[in-house]
Each structure stands twice: as structure tokens, then as C-alpha cells.
Chain length 250, copies 2
């Protein structure tokens, strides 16, 4: 399983992804799920992936090497797309191709899912930072100011804190903090999501990543955040008065 | 969708269920999902159900009316089972029968799920309070002191607070409060789980419900709990220092 989220704020974009992959419960590995394509001063693209690892790697290879646009006969890649929307569409095409290469649709017997879901966030010079989710079918949706985050993978455990705390006017480091709390809730409840966590923070118009780091089990700040959050939740529920209900009412 | 949870503590048992049912997103109704079978002084059984409503009602009818045990030729029902384990096994049999009556297995075309999952909690005189989860196949698992709660339906949003706060030595009204916070998190993130909420609290050896009530949108305490919890979560995340990460590390 996987948990990745992207949070879009007025000042930029934060993306967070875990690194645990599994083929069955007894075959667990660490793979990077957050990938950066960057031309400093020109474009920063961040891609997070959940789902079939083989298809994901196929998509990444297409993004790096590009493929020919049948109409223009030109080689397109993530680094040549003129806008974020075109880049998202390119990722959608790459997903379709990678899935088509990964399996034989007439083979219905192996029970493996070749689905992938991806988040593509970033900024290309001359336009705003944007964040997209690309589905297995190759189609996509875009994050908006109303709901300023997108999640892929095991999204439920970490959604309540995003729903309550994340908004478009949040400070960008506050958004990063909220994302890390969301990741903590997911790691706590689902063993198939695990450390280390990759983090990227792109400040609007800076055209290069302001933060790109990996948080592992020894990370002081993340350990402190987890402890404070646990303590605060305990204190919060203890501070709520006991239920007054007694007897049979209905 | 549905959310129900049961929490077992040293002093007894709490069960909580929402009441929202839907047949498609555009057909939403209110149905009781928490049912009580009681012989004061003798037994208190509480059954919560998630899944197909028609199968659920079939199960309830079997529990009330009973059916013949092919071996003993006697009519068995939830009110005649001599132990909680036998009662859970009876619910399992009732689930199998109700599913068998609800659909024709040769009809693979309608796409409707006839699955149900149930929680059965309670106490029968002479033994401890026990809590079981009964699956669609009719098999069951029992709640233990190590993980002292069981959930059915949309369980993920409300699981983190249970994992952090619920334990077997909790005060029984504290367990009720934790259950209500868990329900609040679920209602907040999943529209298909909704008020009113049915609540039952059984104190060990009292052999009758100490609380049986319905919490609706006008309920003062629940409104206050939701507000306090929201405020506490906001305060908790704001009290955590900002992430110290800067620059490119890895």
C-alpha cells in the first residue's frame, strides 16, 4: 500500500509520500514514490505514485525518455510540456501506455491489479502552481482552492486532519506540518504504509524546490510531532466531559 | 454505508451505531441499525448491522422468531441461546439463511451485494459480557482485551482515536465518549454515515441496559463534544512547532 498527499496553498505546493511497497504481506521493500523532474528557473514537477510498481516504473521511464506525438511527430516528455495541464495529460498518456505494455488484457487469470494513481504537482514558468490526480484510465482531476489537497493510496486515516486543518490560505510550512500529521495517522493505523517519508516543498515562483528531504525513523522533529500529536489527542478526549446519558430514553 | 462500533471494557460494553442507509446516493433513509434483545435479569443482547438491509431484516426476523435446529428439532432463537458464543453462532446461521433467501446465486447479473457484517454484544446470566463480529459467511471473531473494540461498516476514519484511546481498563463512560468521537470523525469524513446515532451501554452483571438512547442533531452534549474535539485538534496542530526542514538533503 501507499499514502501520498499533495497540498496546494496560496504560497505554493507541498508533496509527501511514504516509501513502503509490498508484493504480498510477506514481501516488503522500500521504493521512492515521490519523483522530481526539475529544470531550475524553468520548471519543477513532482510526481507521486500509488499502485502497481511495474506500471509506475514504466510511466517514469516514459516521462524521462518521452515518446513520439503521433500528430506532430515530435518527442514529448515531462520536461518539454509547455504547461502543467499538458504535463498532466502527458502523464495520463504514459499511464495508458505503461499499462498496455505491462499486461496482456486477454489474460484474466492472474488476479494482479495493474492500476496506478498518480499525483502530479508543480509549476512551469509563466503559470501558477497546479496539482493534478491522474487515474489508471489516464484521465485526471485538478485540485482547487475549495478542497486544496489530493490524496492517493490509503487515504482514509489521514483525511480527517486535512479536512479540518488544511486550507488554501495556510502557511506553506503549516501545510507541510498538517501533511506530516496526516501521514502519522496513516502510518499508525496501516502497517503497509511506512517510514521513511519523502517530502518536497515548492514555493510559488521560486522555480526550484525549497525543501527536498527524506524523514526516517531517527528524525527528531517527526518523532516529536508524533509524540505531541498523541499526547494532544489524549488530552483532548480527556478534557471532554463524560457523556450525561443515563437510563432508557428511546 | 454504515458505521457501528462496540467497545468492551472491564466494567461492561458500549455499542454505537449510526442510522443512515442508502440505496444509491440519491435514496437515503433512516433505519435503526442497533437492535436490543432483552430479558431483564436474564440476558441483554445488542446487535448492530452493516450491509444489505434486506438481509439484515431477514436476520432480525430469524432472531426474533427462531428456527428449528435440525438436530434437536427444537426452535432456537437469540432469546434461547444458553451462552453468548451460542448466540453468535445462531446469528451466523441466521445470516446464512437470510442470504440464501434474499438472492438466487445463479443470478450474477444484478451487481447488488448481499453481504452483511454484524456485531453481537451482550451478557447472558452466569457468564462474562462478550462481543463478537459475524461475517457474511456466518463465521465470527471475538473481541479480546488486547484490542478491545470491533467496528463494522466505514471503519477507517474512526479507527485512529480507538487505537489511541480505547483500552480494556477505560471507564465505561469514557469508552462511550471515545466511541462518540470515533463516530464524529466518521460522520465528518463520510456523508453516507449520519445522525441520529443509537447508543447502548451495558454495565457488567446489571443484566439490563444502563443507557439506551438516540442522539440527534439537537443533542447538546454531542454538539459540544464535536465542537470541543474540533477546537482541540486545531489547537493541537497549531501547538506543534513548524517543520525545521530547509534545502535539499537527499
Amino acid at each position: 500500500m501507499t499514502y501520498c498527499c499533495g497540498i496546494l496553498v496560496r504560497d505554493g505546493l507541498v508533496m509527501i509520500a511514504d516509501t513502503r511497497t509490498n508484493a504480498g504481506l510477506d514481501n516488503i521493500s522500500t521504493f521512492r514514490k515521490l519523483h522530481v523532474f526539475e529544470q531550475p528557473g524553468e520548471r519543477v514537477l513532482m510526481l507521486a505514485a500509488a499502485g502497481n510498481l511495474s506500471v509506475t516504473q514504466g510511466v517514469l521511464n516514459f516521462l524521462k525518455e518521452g515518446f513520439e506525438n503521433p500528430e506532430t511527430k515530435e518527442i514529448e516528455s515531462a520536461l518539454t510540456a509547455p504547461t502543467m495541464l499538458k504535463a498532466a495529460q502527458f502523464v495520463g498518456k504514459a499511464v495508458r501506455r505503461a499499462r498496455a505494455e505491462a499486461f496482456d488484457p486477454s489474460d484474466q487469470t492472474n488476479g494482479v491489479s495493474f492500476d496506478v494513481t498518480m499525483l502530479l504537482g508543480g509549476q512551469i514558468k509563466g503559470s501558477e502552481p497546479r496539482l493534478f490526480m491522474i487515474y489508471s484510465a489516464g484521465n485526471s482531476i485538478e485540485c482547487s482552492q475549495d478542497t486544496n489537497y489530493l490524496q492517493i493510496g490509503e487515504h482514509k486515516y489521514g483525511k480527517p486532519i486535512l479536512d479540518r486543518a488544511a486550507n488554501y490560505d495556510s502557511d506553506i510550512y503549516d501545510a507541510l506540518k498538517i501533511g506530516l500529521i496526516s501521514m502519522d495517522s496513516t502510518i499508525k493505523s496501516n502497517l503497509s504504509v511506512g517510514l521513511p517519508i519523502d517530502v518536497a516543498l515548492l514555493r510559488k515562483d521560486s522555480m526550484e524546490l525549497e525543501v527536498q528531504t527524506r524523514i526516517d525513523a531517527g528524525d527528531e522533529y517527526f518523532r516529536d510531532l508524533r509524540e505531541r500529536w498523541s499526547k494532544a489527542l489524549r488530552a483532548a478526549h480527556m478534557a471532554i466531559p463524560a457523556p450525561p446519558y443515563r437510563g432508557r430514553e428511546k
